[in-house]
Symmetry: C2
Subunit: 506 residues, 2 copies
């Protein structure tokens, strides 16, 4: 009996490994598409990707997978904890994927393709109306997807579950209910005190070649292992893992502002550390996969914000700046950089937002997509709603649709339910980093290569090693002894702002 169970578990693992190979190949094709692929190859590449994903879907949903899963689920007692949780995860994937038949997946994929092209055009012409009809059709399909998958409270939950397993809109409402008033309170104090936030823009111009060198130097200083990863350029920074031994990140360059490239690099490096820390032996199994987008994002934000925007870290990487500026670093460069990186100022563009106002951008998108899914908001009213909310929450009105409702690609890809994971990531990051500060001596005193290696080891032990055999909240508990808690993020922000502006009464 136990032998048969072991044989079935091995057979399942082997199936999952082969599917992981297909997905890894697809990931490399996507990486290439964003970095080196000749411009004329787009159609052929789309076909190759469709074939790989189609095959992966077929292999995953075929009857042999079902047979193995059913046999294992009837014998969970014979499996280890990790094994039985792994079977449970794969079973849930199976149910989710078999709800969506090949016909639906094709219809959705065609509509996504159409919506994305419409979005690109609309964005170029700054005209939401060019995108609206396609977004309407896509939203219909996403509602159908939610219905097929099923939900108890909100159709939004069915979609959210893909990115943040187990999370619900009702829980998000609770989280934003705590978070937003606090952010309002802090922001009002900053605004009413007319906080002096110096910025010397000229100090941050640097040639692309030198920025490239800077990013490579800093990656080396934070212990990014170039035997298992690499940095490239792309128009939108991203990270992608083919395997723990092969994780690629990209960045983009703005010659006027070196922080764009370097902080994108830090962000993506955080994602990469997570991917590199996943189990290398069980590819395709939950041990080798990320717990959720929220946990993934917590790792990128931890390196970009908690570490990257701290004075200690800036001092640690000062030699890299010195090198990039050929020894002629501008006067009080680290001080000015610290100011710039921690300036709080509401703006129109999500990806350029500071650590506080960022969450207004997410909150607005979340409200809008929730209302879309629950049928309270029609696409034709979406733009007006967007502009109204930006005026209410951020006090500014987009000058055109491209810097307004068309600024993000996510909806055109059908990624509805994705945005909130950014906020979850910020909260998890503050909690996890806090716990690491308590447990790793001297982590906040001096950032050194040894310090950061200790941190990564700690993260390996507290986060990475579980893969998705634990859900996001359980990982939060394992690493912090607490549940997800937005107040910790508020405390983190307050402490930091207070230290930079000691005269504020926060």
């Amino acid at each position: 009996m136990a032998e048969e169970i072991n044989a079935n578990y091995s057979a399942l693992s082997k199936r999952m490994a082969a599917i992981a190979d297909l997905n890894s190949a697809a990931s490399l094709l996507q990486w290439d598409q964003e970095t080196y692929m000749p411009s004329g190859a787009g159609d052929a590449r789309a076909q190759q990707l469709a074939t790989l994903y189609g095959l992966a879907h077929d292999q995953f949903t075929d009857s042999e997978t079902l047979r193995l899963l059913e046999s294992l689920r009837n014998n969970l007692a014979n499996l280890s904890d990790t094994e039985s949780r792994s079977v449970d995860r794969i079973w849930r994937d199976y149910q989710r994927k078999t709800c969506l038949d090949r016909d639906f997946i094709e219809r959705l994929s065609i509509q996504i393709s159409r919506s994305f092209h419409a979005w690109e055009k609309a964005r170029k012409e700054q005209d939401f109306d060019l995108f609206a009809p396609e977004l309407e059709r896509l939203t219909e399909l996403k509602r159908e997807e939610a219905d097929r998958i099923g939900y108890t409270e909100s159709p939004y939950d069915a979609l959210l579950d893909e990115y943040e397993p187990g999370m619900k809109a009702s829980e998000l409402n609770r989280i934003f209910g705590v978070l937003m008033p606090e952010l309002d309170r802090i922001y009002r104090i900053i605004a009413s005190n007319r906080v002096v936030q110096h910025e010397d823009e000229l100090a941050f111009a640097l040639s692309e070649d030198k920025q490239w060198m800077l990013c490579r130097d800093v990656l080396e200083m934070i212990g990014f292992d170039s035997h298992c990863g690499r940095l490239d350029r792309s128009s939108h920074p991203f990270s992608i893992g083919m395997h723990p031994s092969d994780v690629r990140i990209t960045t983009r360059f703005n010659a006027e502002d070196l922080t764009v490239a370097l902080w994108s690099t830090l962000h993506e490096a955080g994602h990469a550390f997570y991917e590199m820390g996943l189990n290398a032996e069980t590819r395709g199994m939950p041990l080798s996969e990320a717990a959720s987008l929220g946990i993934h994002e917590s790792q990128s934000r931890l390196w970009e914000n908690q570490i990257g925007r701290s004075m200690a870290f800036l001092r640690y990487i000062e030699p890299a700046f010195l090198n990039a500026f050929d020894g002629k670093i501008p006067h009080d460069f680290i001080g000015k950089l610290h100011q710039k990186l921690n300036r709080i100022e509401k703006g129109l563009i999500r990806t350029e937002a500071d650590e506080l106002s960022y969450h207004y951008h997410i909150y607005i998108r979340y409200q809008i997509e929730l209302d879309m899914l629950e049928g309270r908001l029609k696409i034709k009213d979406l733009k007006e709603r967007w502009n109204g909310m930006y005026e209410t929450y951020l006090g500014i009105k987009p000058g055109n649709d491209s810097e307004g409702v068309l600024q993000d690609v996510h909806w055109s890809h059908g990624s509805i339910g994705y945005f909130p994971t950014y906020t979850l990531g910020s909260i998890y990051a503050s909690q996890i980093f806090n716990a690491s500060l308590n447990e790793i001596e001297g982590l906040n005193q001096l950032q050194s290569k040894e310090n950061l290696a200790q941190l990564k080891q700690w993260l390996q032990h507290k986060v990475f090693k579980f893969g998705r055999t634990l859900d996001a909240n359980s990982i939060c508990r394992k690493s912090t002894n607490n549940d997800l808690n937005p107040t910790e993020f508020v405390n983190y922000l307050e402490t930091k702002i207070q230290s930079i502006h000691p005269y504020l009464a926060l």
Copy 2:
């Protein structure tokens, strides 16, 4: 009836397209492995490739392919000529691939992996004995492969057929029988006349950056379409096509000698033009695939040798040199370059050989692998045989095994029967280029971008468009009105050598 036939042909095409997508993905993974992949990712990559090739094999050899092929083969009259030839080609592939079951393929693949690693080690340590036992096992398996596939004259034919469909050892013997005495005769005249072959090595040193620029400029001048292809660096130059819209080539750099990078680039560009010229609509079908390695090699050699080593072409690309040397081009640079590129001198290393003595290297390898396969040569005697033949045919003895019997990777990959396609490529190239000279006015008068575009158009019409719906010799006839004929290659060499050394009595 006709409707069913059409449906079956469509179904077959669809299957082949999906298999082509898998193979294209695998090609990209291989390209990446040689160019950008982090060094630690080798094992994971090997697994991904094994999964993709395994799936492609399973899909190709499954019973549905057989059903479609049988139904179509019973109704060839209802198909067009191209369709019926395509079915015939796929049927032959099917027979070949189903001779080799999964167990044999795995045994072979493991042995190739072992042999390659042993070769790498042996080459590093200049010791053939470290490679010999693995090569012996591999040769056994290749003999088994030949037996499984079947042959009438020689087991060598069964292996050769994979690279050069329809070619036989008896035909190769006839070709070398014509070619080698002629090369001997020409070489003896050159050697006995103590031909002055100037070479000013210092003139060809150039920084890697400038060489990179030079290669890019020349690619542009020969009309390499960067929307559908790209150039990268790798330790061994190669070309690889994912699709006619996505063909990658690589080159390598020697700072002391710019001809290494540029002529590798021209060689690989010739391969790339062929891949870019294959049918883009029928991926996976014979119309979209190369006729043979010999024909493929004819295209690379045509650009590297017939065009690349001609005075007219060197004059045409002189501005690129001027640019690379910042306007300070060495005195009589083009003249010296022409001398260097056409110097005839026997040497030890195949990849560095001139157009004439190159074929001694091939002839030696061919004789050796033929004797290995037909059981006349034991692996333990291989090195002695190699060294003996180098002394007989080239008048030099390798100083060590790495510059001798270990110089090429091919055998370690199990590629036995591959080498002769290089010689076939040279012969086809001379015939095809000759025909193009007769048909395209002014092609040899002045090489210009328009000229070269006309040539490519001519090649498109005479070679590329047939894919492998015609065999190599039929393509030779279509383009030249002649069968494969080594004498034309001899004439090409003679004419060129005579023009450079008019005082020789050839």
